[in-house]
């Protein structure tokens, strides 16, 4: 049925959660945009035909009015209907009208599904970016692959714009310091230092107090800002939070 392809996209959009996004379904998007363009072309054709029929009906109506010398319905649609010589073309006229309307409804439905699909994906990408503190390099390749090239470009550009804005604000507000506005707004940081356990090998990291070797299974008491990115990607685990 018309609109089924678009509905498939809607269902894929439904499956997007904070933790999961299916791969960008380029094929399905192409199918829907193709169907939409086709239907729109057909609809334009039909509307042209209908306009011709209506104007012919008008002409006949005007002719018959002139003959009868009386007033009549001013609707050109009624004129087309009544001026039809045989019931066949009247039926065809009504069918075409309905068909054109159906195509128009489907086009609009397709558009809505396409927009909703892309908008939800974009929302996911945005949320993902903020959760990795606007560092697209922290996103695992496997996850990046599920995004379309345009979405990846969007991620990079969004992070870049934010960084540029932050730099501009820093320059004005606090030239000597740096702002971290990707820190969670809902949970303000409680401690300067956090206790962490190493889940995956991180190698050595440089902290303010020197170099620390993060071997799996070890625990450390480190400055939050030094290790926050490792916590974000799950390499470290935060233990005994207050």
């Amino acid at each position: 049925m018309l609109g089924d392809e678009a509905f498939r996209l809607a269902k894929e959009a439904r499956d997007i959660t904070a933790g999961h996004i299916p791969a960008y379904n380029e094929e399905q998007v192409r199918l829907v945009t193709q169907e939409t363009r086709y239907l729109w072309a057909r609809r334009e054709e039909m509307n042209d035909r209908l306009r011709v029929a209506e104007s012919q009906g008008m002409t006949s109506q005007l002719q018959s009015q002139a003959l009868l010398g009386g007033g009549g319905s001013s609707s050109s649609q009624v004129a087309a209907k009544t001026a039809a010589a045989d019931g066949g073309s009247q039926t065809q006229y009504e069918n075409d009208n309905g068909q054109a309307k159906l195509y128009g409804l489907t086009v609009r439905r397709n558009k809505r599904c396409l927009l909703a699909y892309h908008q939800r994906r974009m929302g996911f990408v945005r949320g993902l970016l903020w959760s990795v503190h606007l560092a697209p390099s922290l996103v695992p390749a496997e996850l990046l692959q599920r995004l379309s090239p345009e979405e990846q470009g969007f991620a990079r550009e969004y992070a870049r714009l934010n960084a540029a804005y932050r730099d501009a604000v820093e320059e004005q507000l606090c030239p000597a310091d740096s702002l971290d506005w990707t820190a969670s707004g809902e949970l303000p940081p409680r401690d300067l230092f956090v206790e962490v356990r190493v889940v995956r090998d991180c190698g050595e990291i440089v902290t303010e107090s020197g170099v620390v070797n993060l071997q799996p299974g070890t625990q450390h008491y480190l400055r939050r800002s030094d290790v926050e990115h490792l916590l974000t990607i799950g390499y470290l685990e935060h233990i005994n939070p207050t």
Partner: protein, 178 residues
């Protein structure tokens, strides 16, 4: 954003079928793959998705009727035992569909309200007390709206416990990263 336009639940619910009587011949109503032979003729009864039926009904290309989900007989059944109805089997989008039909079928708001107020109490209880084998049937019978509500309640319960146990401020892995 722009309210209901982008709301995925709204979009999904509008795909539910309602019975219609066609007033004209229409093409493209068959299932995929039936190609040119998919013309449905006037005066035939055909179940159309709500988004299609509503638009066509406005200009009298079809005569739209109330879906069986909200028939009088169905409404009586709902009123009799709201908590034991397999709502998911009736319609995954029961409440959403009812909202969209609103004006068309006069009793719908009342049916929705009584169904909801009965079931929502049980949902809240399950969220608080946890669910077990007995409540499994009910939980599986929830439609999308109710299931989302249950999830929210459970998350809220979890958040209370987490805060009490000092886990609320733990720095966590980003949810999308495995």
């Amino acid at each position: 954003m722009a309210g209901a336009y982008y709301d995925i639940d709204d979009i999904l619910a509008a795909q539910e079928r309602v019975p219609c009587v066609l007033q004209v011949d229409l093409d493209g109503l068959g299932s995929a793959g039936s190609g040119g032979a998919s013309k449905v003729h006037r005066n035939a009864r055909w179940a159309l998705p709500l988004w299609m039926a509503d638009g066509l009904n406005e200009e009298d290309f079809v005569a739209m009727e109330a879906p069986p989900v909200f028939s009088r007989r169905a409404a009586r059944m709902y009123a009799a035992s709201p908590e034991s109805i397999q709502l998911r089997a009736v319609s995954q989008h029961f409440y959403q569909l009812g909202l969209q039909l609103g004006d068309m079928v006069p009793d719908v708001p009342h049916v929705l309200r009584s169904m909801y107020t009965q079931r929502v109490q049980r949902i809240a209880r399950i969220a608080q007390q946890g669910h077990n084998v007995e409540t499994l049937d009910f939980v599986q019978s929830l439609d999308r709206t109710e299931a989302e509500l249950l999830r929210l309640c459970q998350r809220a319960q979890g958040a209370i416990a987490a805060w009490q146990q000092g886990r609320a401020y733990a720095l966590r892995r980003a949810p999308a990263i495995q």
